[in-house]
Symmetry: C2
Subunit: 205 residues, 2 copies
């Protein structure tokens, strides 16, 4: 059986929703990041990066959301969770997901985990101070990328579930009403049965 | 005809090598990042992020290396540049590429472009000071991921070309002899005819 290591409201929320959308048979294993469970030797043996999410498949572990979301979409093609059959549409899906991973997620992390990049407290405060402006600029770019009503157009994909995570984080940092297409994706994802079940399972609803 | 926007020795080197490995008919368009050409209105209309690489296909532009490298591999399947036919192997390819994009590239950027994350000069100096330790930690993780002789095992893929970029950058920042599997990938990529042609074309050889 598939096993997903997650932390509540972390970016692991996206593949958690993905597994539920797919109707997959899976076990969700919660890690307490504040207690440092992601650095337990047993977990580091599976994922030396010490991060979530991690998906354990029958062939081995997969890290990094663009890869995990793609694997779920390919393993459950009948759920139509990504346009994997059209090379250009799939590239746009991957581009969007990879952009979230290397862009807005990194900019949020400067607010949440500034100590990754500096050991100096004044410098950490400087990173936290600039993070909202970078996150806002990212949402502006993302707003321009959304075809509507979903990220890729008419059809839901796991790019929407991934964006949903960052809207949840962004609400506490920037004025989200400036991004109506982003918020429309958020609202459409929020009402889906799979999303509602996973939010409840993670203790967020 | 395909058009790749690149800057010499930037991470666009990976898809540049990829197009050459594929035997693609393409035009490589150089942007002078120091002169700010990536912020020209004509370019921002194609890529609002103002970054390289950007690949223009007959269906539209694609940004982000994990997406571009995958598109090249899928468009030229006979070149066997990624294991796109095996869902788990492809997930490992994507995971490796996405990890480079959101991990080591970001850590290098704290040395090269600290002003992205702080407007304070002392904080920028603090980011630059910590960057080599983060890059070294990333190379240690990558060393453990490489199956050998190539990243994914016996067969070359564009994950190798992508790693090649960061080894070129890393040589000026950390002691690369600590990562023999990484260096073996670098050395195997360096001698390939496609790599040699692209290094010459970018003025790096």
């Amino acid at each position: 059986m598939l096993k997903l290591f997650y932390a509540p409201n972390a970016c692991s929320l996206a593949p958690h929703i993905g597994l539920e959308e797919a109707g997959a048979d899976y076990e969700a294993v919660r890690l307490d990041l504040k207690a440092g469970e992601q650095r337990n030797p047993d977990y580091l043996a599976l994922n030396p990066k010490g991060r979530v999410p991690l998906l354990i498949t029958d062939k081995g572990p997969i890290s990094e959301n663009p890869a995990i979301l793609t694997w779920i979409a390919q393993a459950y093609p009948e759920a139509k969770l990504a346009p994997t059959g059209d090379a250009f549409a799939f590239a746009k899906f991957l581009s969007f997901c990879a952009g979230l991973s290397s862009g807005i997620h990194v900019n949020f992390a400067h607010a949440f985990r500034a100590s990754r990049w500096s050991d100096d407290e004044a410098a950490q405060a400087s990173l936290k101070a600039k993070a909202p402006a970078n996150v806002a600029a990212d949402f502006k770019t993302i707003e321009g990328q959304i075809k509507g009503p979903f990220v890729l157009g008419q059809d839901y994909s796991l790019a929407d579930a991934y964006l949903f995570v960052f809207v949840r984080w962004g609400k506490n940092m920037v004025e989200m009403s400036a991004y109506p297409k982003v918020m429309a994706v958020h609202d459409a994802v929020a009402v889906r049965p799979a999303t509602r079940k996973v939010l409840a399972d993670e203790g967020l609803a």
